[in-house]
Amino acid sequence: MLKLVEITKSYGTGAVQTSVLRDVTFKAEKGEFVAIMGASGTGKTTLMNILGCLDLPTSGKYFLDGVDVFSNNDNAISAIRNQKIGFVFQQFHLLERASALDNVLLPLIYAEKYPTDAVERGTNGLRAVGLADRILYQPNQLSGGQQQRVALARALVTNPALILADEPTGNLDRRSGLEIMAILQKLNREGRTVVLITHDRDIAEHANRILILRDGRIFDEASSHTVRDAQTELDALPAVAAPDEPSVKRGNS
């Protein structure tokens, strides 16, 4: 499904070269849920950028869904991002003053062919993440957890081969974070490949497999941990009245 072969990334030129990634090689099969864990400064972001086809490695190869990504030109790589990768960012990265639905539909704008059922797809996607009643809300009318769920719906709208989540719970409280993890786990059970990048062991343990990134090298932990189930954890949390209500006053839509 995805394969990295001796990926190296260095910055600087000549004598003062800093290698951020050194010969990173690993594979993830279709349907796997892989967490890449590392403290800050270990090259996590750089790896995430390369996995997301946002940045080019200094050397090495990257195969995604059978495609040798970096043998393509910029336009083709953009198309790969559009078709094969669904991004979930720590800061959500939603367009302000655009409705949840418009945010979800954003990737389709750059699709080869705009689907005729786009609005239906977007609506269904929002329903699937539990936001059926927030379709026309703007990001500032949504809580952090809700915003991240909009981002998830956006990541799924092109039906990508890979979900790439970069610290998706980093800006969320524990409950909202677990809700996101529960959705990711559900998507994975439905057969989607998920790559999660995090510094948080508790979050990483929701994945079936954990890779550790240390000093730009990757170490496979295989599956030595017990996989946590986010839904079970959520159910165990003390009940709160309305966990998702944002503190800001909500406008009518």
């Binding site: 910029d74 198309a79 559009n82 960012f89 990265h93 302000e96 704008i109 750059y110 092109t158």
Partner: protein, 402 residues
């Protein structure tokens, strides 16, 4: 279509920055409005010139007695132009369809009962109507019989009819022209303002023979109206007429002509300088405000690009190609300038109407300002929007998302 989707994104994005959008549009609005006024005035001037040429007659050449540069007044003391000259023009210049030799006197007193006025007396031949494309509306024109018998008959213009007869029918009445009785045979249709200015309807037309022998006792003409079969022959014929007249009047260099040959071109040139200063000022305003608005546009769009780094990064991450980003930002610029252009056009049209009503500068609405407004605002948007759009599209997605 992908392009249409990108355009929609641009419009949505503009809505997020209303103040900025307005500032950019302001310059374009002023520029296009000024331009619209200029073009409207130029159109009006142009139409005035065209009308003047048509009034004069596009196939007409006038040969006047007396030299000089100005449009001819009539000087009875110049006696160099003769009927023989007119006949020579008719027989020796190719393409001449007809000639109408004339004697003209200004400010001739005319009296009917207790009403009096001054008229321009124009004595011509029977072909006067064809020569001038100017026909009677009432009564008859004088005929060959009147001409050869030097009859005291007259055809009068609308102003004379109105002034002397005040509503009663002049045909058949007797008027006194320069102390001689004339019978009014007919009334000419309204003609309006002469090419050189002045009312053409204050004329009285009498047979040339009557004027030359019975009224003024002269052998010289004031002018000859010459009609060509084709407007294209006019310039050539005018040069030939001039050469012929110099030869006939035995004028050698460096002596100057004792006649003037007037063509429609000469007529068109009169008064063309009117309002050209105002035009220049307004054109400068246009150019300046379009350039300023372009620079404002460029700077505000550059600011916008750095403000929206993350949006650009996001769009790239979600599959936007460089070209898509470039197009989106170019569309934003062009949308702003074209909106400004349209608003400016509307304001300009309103101003043109107001200027036309409130001042001596005539204005005329036409399609040209519309085309110019659209073209110029597109050009400003594209030209000054390109650099910001390029910067946006060249932003690496990683940098942009940071």
């Amino acid at each position: 279509m992908r392009t249409l989707r990108l355009m929609r994104q641009s419009i949505i994005a503009l809505g997020r920055y209303p103040m900025r959008s307005f500032l950019v549009m302001l310059g374009v609005i002023v520029g296009i409005a000024a331009l619209t006024v200029v073009v409207s005035m130029a159109k009006a001037t142009n139409r005035k010139v065209m009308k003047r040429i048509n009034n004069f007659g596009p196939t007409t050449i006038m040969l006047f007695a007396g030299g000089g540069k100005n449009l001819p007044g009539v000087d009875p003391s110049v006696v160099t132009l003769t009927l023989e000259d007119a006949k020579a023009v008719e027989s020796q210049i190719r393409g001449v369809t007809l000639i109408c030799p004339m004697v003209i006197r200004m400010r001739v007193p005319v009296i009917y009962r207790d009403q009096s006025t001054e008229a321009t007396l124009q004595a011509g031949e029977v072909n006067f109507q064809e020569a001038w494309d100017w026909y009677i509306t009432d009564g008859d024109f004088f005929d060959e019989q009147d001409y050869s018998s030097m009859a005291r008959v007259a055809v009068i213009g609308q102003t004379i009819a109105r002034t002397l007869f005040q509503g009663t029918n002049p045909v058949g009445e007797t008027i006194r022209i320069a102390n001689a009785n004339f019978k009014v045979k007919g009334i000419l249709s309204p003609k309006g303002t002469a090419p050189a200015g002045g009312d053409m309807d204050d004329r009285i037309i009498v047979p040339l023979t009557t004027a030359m022998r019975r009224m003024f006792n002269v052998t010289s003409l004031s002018s000859v109206r010459i009609r060509m079969s084709n407007p294209k022959q006019v310039q050539q014929a005018a040069a030939e007429i001039r050469a012929l007249m110099r030869e006939r009047h035995q004028i050698q260099p460096p002596d100057l002509d004792d006649f003037r040959v007037i063509t429609p071109d000469v007529i068109a040139g009169i008064g063309e300088m009117i309002s050209s200063t105002l035009n220049k000022v307004l054109l400068a305003v246009t150019a300046l405000s379009l350039i300023v608005s372009g620079i404002v546009l460029m700077n505000l769009m550059l600011l916008s690009v750095s403000d929206r780094r993350r949006e650009i990064g996001l769009r790239r991450a979600l599959g936007g190609r460089r070209r898509d980003i470039l197009l989106q930002f170019l569309f934003e610029s062009v949308a702003l300038t074209s909106m400004g252009g349209l608003i400016g056009l509307v304001l300009g049209i309103i101003s043109a109407v107001v200027v036309g009503k409130a001042s001596a500068n005539a204005t005329m609405l036409s399609w040209e300002p519309l085309a110019l407004a659209i073209a110029l605002s597109l050009i400003v948007g594209l030209f000054f929007g390109l650099a910001p759009a390029r910067r946006a599209s060249n932003m690496p997605p990683v940098e942009a998302l940071r």
